[in-house]
């Protein structure tokens, strides 16, 4: 990277962007390759090393203390205490000066709590600038910003570039990337595919690079139009229908709205559209409502939202099905959960071993078993193969097909487009919370999906 350069990093989810950044920041160890800083080879073992070199990372989740003022946040942990006393006047003056230079004077005494995301991001950048950062890494800074705010950020970046600060900029919005960056690097499966100046490139070029250098011919894996009866229909900003035995894949960039759609369908969060189940309009105000109407959710974050680590494998499997009665027949329960363990090939020693002792893939299968046992009509699978070993992944895909064969409708998301192409009958692509397009077997290619998901050609 050249000094005073804005360098954009693009690639599919899982292409290796985060890993690369983590290596740069010293969070993860490098597994090959050498890092050079200002011409010299350097070794960055931890984030402190990185900071000493002048590298600062601005996270997606911002690290500000909401109760403190702008000035306090900028100088957090590094109060310039010449005499041992913190000089607030000095801090405020210097903070105001920094924002002046950034071209966005703001009231530095206001607490951060009431500020919008754009302002907070600016504060993070100001913080990095205040400590002579030479390289600022922005991880999807614009994902949640409005066009105007994004434009403001772009101006700030260019202003700082003029003062010799370099940027690494990660984004899914290709158009913006071309606008902001001087140079663009496309990553795929952990390797650099293309690295070229942004001036000579366009969106289609990038998309092709992201998807793979060539248009690989695929055997049509999608099964085409399904004419069975409709089980689920969503009317509103997102129009979607799901038929019996159909597997619909949801594709989209992070923040594209896939997880959000599944979550509100399952009754957590406000319901922005009308939902019909088997032709009848329903309200999904809580997970209980959703379950009552035959929906089931396997959430993306297993540890956070699905697994009860201290409870036994058996209790975890039975959790959804026991809703139907008051007393529990332990023998029946053992028999039933044992059946699922065998059928889904969950590798466990005992039914009463705690769920925490199972591998990630087995935990995921356990969560699937929970809903299979409960007998859902519509299965919402949010990233069911994330963090799962290859064998379990294949087994989970196999299971999805079996379920569809028996009439269950499945709505599936995955950050891996290949997975979607493998498992789904058709793919609906979301971009910024809206449907960007729907692809059936013939049209669905990785490239087309990426185009839609990154907002190209809209």
């Amino acid at each position: 990277m050249a000094p005073a350069e804005v360098h954009a990093l693009v690639g599919e989810n899982g292409a290796g962007k985060s890993t690369l950044l983590n290596v740069v920041m010293g969070v993860t160890a490098s597994d090959g390759g050498q890092m050079f800083w200002e011409g010299r080879p350097v070794e960055v073992r931890n984030p402190r090393d990185a900071r000493r070199l002048g590298i600062t990372f601005v996270h997606q989740e911002l690290a500000l203390v909401p109760q403190l003022s702008v000035a306090e946040n900028v100088f957090l942990g590094r109060h310039p205490a010449r005499t041992g006393w913190v000089s607030w006047d000095d801090i405020q003056k210097r903070t105001a000066q920094i924002f002046e230079e950034l071209g966005h004077p703001i009231d530095v005494q206001r607490p951060v709590a009431g500020m919008g995301l754009a302002e907070r991001q600016l504060i993070e950048v100001a913080r990095a600038f205040a400590f002579d950062a030479r390289l600022i890494i922005l991880d999807e800074p614009t994902a949640a910003l409005s066009e105007a705010d994004a434009e403001r950020l772009r101006r700030t970046i260019h202003r700082l570039r003029a003062r010799g600060v370099s940027f690494i900029f990660v984004s899914h919005r290709l158009k913006e990337v071309i606008d902001v960056a001087d140079r663009i690097t496309v990553l795929r499966e952990g390797r650099t595919v293309v690295s070229s100046p942004s001036a000579g490139t366009d969106e289609d070029h990038l998309v092709r690079a992201m998807a793979g250098s060539s248009f690989r011919e695929r055997t049509p894996r999608l099964r085409g139009e399904n004419t069975a009866e409709e089980v689920l229909r969503i009317c509103g900003p997102i129009d979607l229908q799901l038929r019996r035995g159909e597997v619909v894949g949801l594709a989209g960039a992070a923040g594209g709205g896939c997880s959000e759609l599944l979550e509100w369908l399952f009754g957590s969060g406000p319901q922005p559209a009308q939902v019909f189940v088997a032709g009848r309009k329903v309200t999904l105000a809580s997970p209980r409502d959703a379950i009552r109407h035959g929906l089931a959710l396997v959430p993306d974050d297993r540890a956070e939202k699905a697994v009860i680590p201290a409870a036994s494998l058996q209790a975890n499997i039975m959790l959804a099905a026991i809703r139907r009665r008051f007393f529990i027949d332990q023998r029946e329960e053992r028999r039933k959960s044992g059946e699922f363990v065998v059928k889904l090939r969950i590798r466990a020693e005992r039914l009463d071993q705690p769920a925490a002792s199972l591998s990630g893939g087995d935990q995921q299968k356990m969560v699937l078993a929970r809903w299979l046992h409960a007998g859902a009509q519509v299965l919402l699978l949010d990233q069911p193969t994330r963090g799962v070993d290859l064998r379990s992944k294949a087994e989970i895909h196999e299971l999805i097909r079996q379920l569809a064969g028996r009439g269950t409708a499945v709505l599936l998301t995955s950050s891996n487009i290949d997975d979607l192409l493998n498992a789904a009958d058709r793919i609906v692509v979301l971009h910024r919370g809206r449907i960007a397009g729907e692809l059936t077997s013939a049209m669905a290619t990785e490239e087309r999906i990426l185009q839609l998901a990154t907002g190209v050609g809209m």
């Binding site: 939202k305 009860i308 409870a311 065998v342």
Partner: protein, 328 residues
Amino acid sequence: MKAAAQTVPFPQVPRLTGAAVLRRFGPLLGLVVLCGVFGGLSEPFRTGENAVNVLRQSAVNALLALGQMVVILTAGIDVSVGSILGLCCVLAALLLKAGVPAVLSILAALAAGAALGAVNGVLLTKLRLPHPFIPTLGMMNVARGLALVMAGGLPISDLPVRFRVWGAGTVAGLPVPVIVVGLCYVLGHVFLTRTTPGRDLYAIGGNARAALLCGVPVDSRLILAYGFSGLTAGIAAVVLAGRMNSGFPLAGSGAELDSIAAVILGGGSFFGGVGTAAGTLAGALIMAVLRNGLNLLNVSAYWQTVMIGVAIVVTVWIDMLRQKAANR
């Protein structure tokens, strides 16, 4: 589905590992060791009369601990049980003095306890107070204050015999409170292991978000748990007032901490999702045996408190070692 039903039953490895044994029977083991030590040191400790004494002395704490365990199971805490106990004591005594029949007075005390406990649950879930400590701390003060107001600060003594049998009577050589404790624990055990709401409590304590996404009615289950804790406090109140022949408004001061200690000694986890009725009973008995044995050895109450403190820390420490060993 047909094919699946014919699959071989899931292989069960019957042998338990050392860690699993310690986990399941640890509290019981501690109790046996403790009894062995005191039995060796003190002759009166070995008498049947003393055994009955220990059981009777443990009754109030055992009842409170059962409710407390159910709450701690949900990763909560109930610091109001001691005060609810005091309030129920006074309520029952006042009703008895007003000529209300013993059975009705008892039912009123139980209902009051359950209702106050449920209020804790409602405050927690509906007002969305940040931590169970807050509503129960409030209730702790409110209930104690109400008890003092209702009683005018004075103990209400000399209660009718029909009421006192619940705390002081015996049936076939067994004190009535011991029978009450046994019954409550059997019911508690069945509730926790054989019913859906009981199971739900483990799920809520283990991972509340997951429980919610599995359709567990989290709020109503929490209200149930706190209501149950209040109910056991009401039962404990009847036992205590009967035993002491008095409803005194300061009854149960500090009892909440004893009940929490019993749950922890019995293998319950503050993080929720772990705990059994049997373990908690063993925990309550450990505390009673410790106090009783030390009393018989003429160790002062202050030193007893030190010993119980040490026992709690050692128990949790051993538990941590065990978990570390299991995770290795």
